[in-house]
Symmetry: D2
Subunit: 357 residues, 4 copies
């Protein structure tokens, strides 16, 4: 498993001494402006260039940040010697080409999820970054939330006991994407959270999905199961077609159970002191008693900092110190491998597809 | 589809003129006492005999209902000429034998879910009831709730538009059963609700489950998908192993979406005036626009009557009028067929098993 | 303050050796049947007689409990030598006369809230019970809930720090009473909870109310404030005229804050590890810093036993052991004193009326 | 009552032809930056100057908006001929002096709530604005929320029937203010909402408050009642000292009841089709029957636009068209009158203080 998150609460002093990291953001649609804001405001970095194909988007950036250089050609940006790092927030199909050229140009690279459209591309980018000694961070944003950090701590510490299952619901009335289905759009979050949280790797994946909009060819609703050695399973439901927004993840262990409700206005994370107690001989199933122990519930206080701010600072620190990001190219590649296998399962009528990374 | 629910709000006057239906309840574990209470209190029926193998259970009934005859032999009850109908609330594996003998003895029969352990048995009981002209009602309790009745009305009236999917979560920290897994225990509710609600029948079923308790051999957590011709799918998650109780069903159509939250203290049913609008030619997927229309939400007032009370009265009315219950033997048999096919899917690693009833 | 609750979780064995306490229930309207059920089912007591003026109510009791003697004359019951104790669940205006005659006839007495219509009557009954050595318990039901018991424990242990305020909301679309206003109907619960919870006594009370129904003369909405020496205040809002049911009490201290949401399906009681920290000299108000400390929230597991069952058993135990009930006549009298003073405040335009008991 | 809100959804085109309204913001503490952002982004206005006494605040503005002129002397700003309007977001005690000088200098004026520290000052500013023909808008932000607009529409249309009461809770763990108590800080919102919503004016006000922090002299918790002719009352609870944030307002009528829960993630406004039906003669109180009619609940869709954006545009439009703002100086003066009377009530032990404006 990758490096622990370092310095999330550390001093926000600049990491280059007097000079902050000079970041260029490529792609300013839905998510790009958030990158601009976070890297612009962070003490260890600044944004010097933004590029997009749509003039109105650049205008909006220019009005708010007059010091940022604007343009439409990402190659200019990638080869600008006054740029230290590039953030790639373009459509997924373009990630690989831009990231490769940026790495080859000596830049540190931040890529939005998913890292690429294929595992082969993802692995190539990862190896390239390693070879050239550049930082490659995939923006698996949820990994950087205080809630997921706290969940991982509960798992690593043994507080939950033996893990039994992971279940997640991530649905709302969401925008139909033109280029990807709901698994590549929303399921990627669950894959990345599971990849980060769990101490073991899935051995297979299966999925059921529906493409309710005739002829759209893009599934808007999906149920995905990750299979593991032993009894543990992880399941998630993702949908663009639910009347009410739900963001609810459960991690259940034999000693404690965690519920993370990301739509709750407060107490998003609840740890239930509930567990399972089995008595009787396993040889005599009829007499095997399964009982529950139920105790208090506790909702730990969580920092209210924006995950993207933590991630942006983590990126700048990795550049400064040479550390490996916790969502590095390898994590990004595993997530792409899961996405690819899920597509194969859908094509094969829901069959379990093996995962081997 | 079976008869509509008749007389739910009709007069509760006795249906046999002066004499109420004389009911015997066989099995007084968890659910039996509720049957005793409802048939005892209803104006159209009374309870004259109760039988169980455990003396303490009979004592409890006897203390509260001194007029009821108590005993341990169900055959006595089934052949008692002063009994008009028997309610069978024994372990599932015994339903078939008791129901067959009761029908053959000329009794009307109420059976707890599931009707039997196999589709063959269920069909046999159904045919027997038809041949003998006796009422056979399977207690698919949720079908009788005002909320499910209202949902069916929305579907039948076309208010929802074209149906897109059904999704349900039915989880809590539930009692591990000795004889059945969580699908036979809780999933049976979803099968029966889906069977009642939808205007078409599923063509296949697939399932994923986990048996977290080593060697118990009984799955405590399952995800089940019913496949239909066309784009519609129904999915439900059932679990005995969730820290928080959730009872949440969603039926989504192109014009409206219904959410039924059975744990909500009020406004359990919410109808969202939200729909999908597709524009552009389906030949040009890239330009196909999927947009949402969002309007008001409305929570219809629901009667607060206990479902079992409605069902008990419905049973007495069917006996009196010769009507077919809305949850008749045929409905019970379809649900058993779905349960059997789900078991086959689990045994086959989650493969879709055909349903043909 | 009265005796602590004894034996709430103790063995439920009969307290009279072989013979259980023989209870008669006078008044079988809304609450009486709950008394019958609890005293009938409890191992230490039974119900032998029930009396009411309305024949249908007696019929309903008779159908369910054929062994109970029925009648319409409370004097018969009160002088029956085979009755050990009477429960008085008649309209409030009759409590005093019935309770006095029952005590004088040597019975132990359980009275529904409020104990009487005046403090003078309440005190007389209390003194009479003491003189005759009989148990007098006023049914301040909420005091016996596990949640209120746990709140008191938090206060007594010092866990909350210095107490700052008590605030309660107890509203819903409630039945307009014919004989009393909403303060005598619902506010009495808050008075009794405050009387039990707090380590000190109020010095005054003031109230604002509205009688929205022209000419009904009965206030359906009220805001009541109890004033204490020092900075502490207790405030509650009671209403029969709210669209949504709310039962929400907050007790706030300098170290921790408790919220009791009685409509929540689970985690009704939440203890927030939040407190106040004041720094700077109090002489220089401008520089006085008030800051908050916020930590985890914890929801203790509570027993799910019905409060009335605990109270019924407590009554039987007090009879058996001679202990003073935690809601004795003195507590009942203090609550009546608060109700009387509140009426005076309303009559005087909301003026603070002194309390001196 | 003042002008209806005009053009909230109208075109956002500039109101001065080619030239947008040039706004200066005085005071950049908690709220000022929101004013800067909204007036800067709105199509009909821009921000040209910002002034504050603290250099760090100016730095933060300068970094984000390099085109804005910065300074520390509000008199410079007020007399700048290139400024059309000033927004005053300084401590309340300074509002009067700055607003008066700005009006006299010919500027249009936007003042944060409360308009001033006394009714006399507020009336003087109002008269001055009228005399000089300048727009004076008091930022009663909540009035501009879609929820409050919708509530007013329900009241004005008669949909609610006769009004019975208004109740509000506005509490959280809030920052202790140095210069004002919780009524001047939070209660001002309720005064302004009530002033806008209701078709009649209060005749008196009374209040209870507690100053839990010894010697701070600033009440952190208060209960305020507005009294009206007839049966209607309005009550609100404001607090800086509550463990959980609550923003809950209820307006109850004889035909319908509205609940506005501003912390709900969706369906913030719920309209309950519930009403009161009185039968029987009012001369015979004993037989007066008060019953409820309960029907569906409906949650109207609300625009999700930021209230401050609507208000900012409304201000620009009033300047352009000469219309009177819906929260004009007169509304601001009435709110200050209520605040002053509340202080008198607190000083007089909670006595009802007359309101006469």
């Amino acid at each position: 498993m990758a490096t622990e998150l370092i310095g999330a609460s550390a001093s926000r002093a600049g990491v280059f001494g007097a000079r902050p990291l000079r970041v260029a953001v490529i792609g300013c649609g839905y998510w790009g402006p958030n990158l601009v804001r976070n890297f612009f405001d962070a003490p260890g970095s600044t944004v010097t260039r933004v590029c997009d194909l749509e003039p109105e988007r650049l205008d909006a950036i220019g009005k708010r940040y007059p010091t940022i250089g604007l343009g439409s050609d990402w190659r200019d940006v990638v080869h600008d010697p006054d740029v230290d790092a590039v953030c790639i927030a373009t459509p997924a199909a373009t990630h690989y080409a831009i990231a490769r050229e940026a790495l080859n140009a000596g830049k540190h690279v931040w890529v939005e999820k998913p890292l690429s459209m294929s595992f082969a591309e993802a692995r190539e980018l990862t190896e390239l970054a390693t070879k050239l000694g550049r930082v490659l961070l995939v923006d698996h944003t949820f990994v950087y939330t205080p809630a997921v950090q706290r969940m991982r701590q509960s798992i690593v510490s043994g507080e939950l006991g033996d893990l039994l299952y992971y279940d997640s619901i991530r649905v709302n009335l969401g925008m139909y994407q033109h280029d990807v289905n709901v698994i590549w759009d929303l399921g990627v979050h669950d894959f990345s959270i599971i990849d980060y949280l769990l101490p073991y790797r899935p051995s297979g994946v299966s999925a059921v999905a529906a493409s309710q909009i005739a002829d759209s060819g893009r599934e808007g609703l999906a149920y995905v199961t990750l299979h593991f050695e032993g009894d543990f399973i992880a399941h998630f439901h993702v949908s663009w077609l639910a009347p009410v927004k739900i963001r609810l993840a459960t991690v259940c262990g034999t000693k404690r159970m965690i519920v993370f409700d990301d739509t709750a206005p407060s107490e998003k994370l609840k740890i239930y002191d509930r567990g399972i107690e089995v008595s009787g001989s396993s040889k005599d199933r009829e007499r095997l008693q399964v009982e529950y122990r139920t105790g208090d519930m506790s909702a730990p206080k969580l920092d209210q900092v924006e995950a993207l701010q933590i991630a942006a600072q983590h990126f700048a620190e990795c550049v400064a110190t040479g550390a490996t990001p916790i969502t590095d190219g390898a994590a990004g590649a595993r997530v792409v491998a899961m996405l690819e296998a899920t597509q194969r399962s859908l094509a094969a009528g829901g069959r379990v597809e093996k995962l081997d990374f």
